[in-house]
Symmetry: C2
Subunit: 331 residues, 2 copies
Amino acid sequence: MSNPVLVEVTRGPLTESVHRGAFAVADAKGALRLHAGDVERPIFPRSALKPVQAVPLIESGAADAFGVTDEEIALAAASHSGEPMHTARVLAWQARIGCSVADLACGPHRPVHEPTAAEMIARHERPTPLHNNCSGKHTGFMTLARHLGAPVAGYQLIDHPAQRLVEKTLKEMAGLTGELPYGVDGCTVPNFALPLEALARAMAQFADTTALTPNRRAAADRVVRAMTANPELVAGTGRACTQLMRQSGRIVVKTGAEGVYVAILPELGLGAALKIDDGASRASEAAIAGLLIALGALPDNGAAAQLARAPVPNTRGVAIGERRAVFDVFR
Amino acid sequence: MSNPVLVEVTRGPLTESVHRGAFAVADAKGALRLHAGDVERPIFPRSALKPVQAVPLIESGAADAFGVTDEEIALAAASHSGEPMHTARVLAWQARIGCSVADLACGPHRPVHEPTAAEMIARHERPTPLHNNCSGKHTGFMTLARHLGAPVAGYQLIDHPAQRLVEKTLKEMAGLTGELPYGVDGCTVPNFALPLEALARAMAQFADTTALTPNRRAAADRVVRAMTANPELVAGTGRACTQLMRQSGRIVVKTGAEGVYVAILPELGLGAALKIDDGASRASEAAIAGLLIALGALPDNGAAAQLARAPVPNTRGVAIGERRAVFDVFR
């Protein structure tokens, strides 16, 4: 059985391309409230794991011990665009914990934000690991390592206490036991695989924290508060996550590479997770917008509507087709 | 029924993403020699149509009348990378027919060749329609318009004699009758939709031209000769088409947007066409390489093998997974 088509791309009278995928919507009691496709096969959440990866930073007491701000928590859970607003804050945080860019285990990539990348090219400046979209997450791990009295070097390795805490937290929030399969993420950190339904359940724990232990609850509440208050830091100028979070002001929307999205919907008490089979972000953006509209978490206008139904322009800027969420699947 | 998985992308112990698609391999008599997936549904060949779009330029006598060189024929059939070797030749050709960049109907996009794009950014130079990967094709249409005594302005419109000749040529080579559905390509020119099996048959006409009329035969032979002799002009430095064509020296490999590839295999007397359902070029490149290896058109080493099985690196350059053609499907 193949997954259903979640997004289609038209050109003139025909559908030119299609994107299949699966999604799950769960509540904090673990009930699957809506789903389509195979939600039992393990998938890599990639950067959609970041809200979970930020929990041990707070729950351990590290954030309080090092005076980590809500902006920094948002950056710990971010796939940032490498704009000055991101890199300056990550640098300042690193200085405060006695670390530097040289301690980052992630490699360099050019800023996701095109104007920033172009300015760097014009200045003949090369990207550093600071511009890596994960540099905030890594700085969070370094902060956690410092607080645990563990070495900063090697914080990205599977046996480092920081990563052990991430796996433990993920399993508890997702309701899983046993060792999780893992792969190495683009930023060198372990990324744990789990079924979409379990990822949705983990997100539902953030949406309704009433059943969590007091420490976990405070940590999860703070992650949601920090992310919703700082949508520009969680992604960046013009990015889908930022636009969708700003449109509501009360939800968390987080992308992951290879076509993943999660959402935390506190007012509905729901968590959502989706993955496009082929990994295309143009499709995951349309699909999460379509799903959030269908759930009533976002209105069918503004950024959500524009992502759910986007014109496909030619090089003269004329719309010659449409990329659109297949709404029938999300209802 | 969904199409089979042609390409899979792994991370650590799991398959992270998959790309479904269909392909057809035909001979010049029209027999389907190999296929998988739905090869009857109309697809847009996009730039994989360019070998056909170059035929009327030669068959009409326009190329001879304007002294069009084999390098220029290759550019007429190219999705070029906007490197100086491409843009300088297109400019010179335009000057010879009394046209200029201002006559190009296509819009601007930055050069596909990253170093060229970076140099332009550093010089604060904006891309023009000359850098559009289709500017050679458009210059071919302008040459054809001049020769036919038709206005150059409007050469991109469906009723222009140049586009009527393209549709007529495509239908004859693909063995189709009636009007073909069409959409507007990224470069503003009509792109005609046809089944993958028909597109493969059209490519087979290039591979074995013995049954064509003398004029059509001379034109088709010249397109193949011009493309195989100039693989750098057909795409550009480091591009998949260029690498695969260079590896053989005797085949044509041409990509099209949204996951399309065609191949012309004169020594086997075969034409091939494939489309990835989701439109991903990372997948179409792996799939065409896998198909060409399976057909024996390319050896299982060098560029073909590297495209068919490519390591997926993290930002530190360490391979953490693999993108690979699913060879079982191609055999």
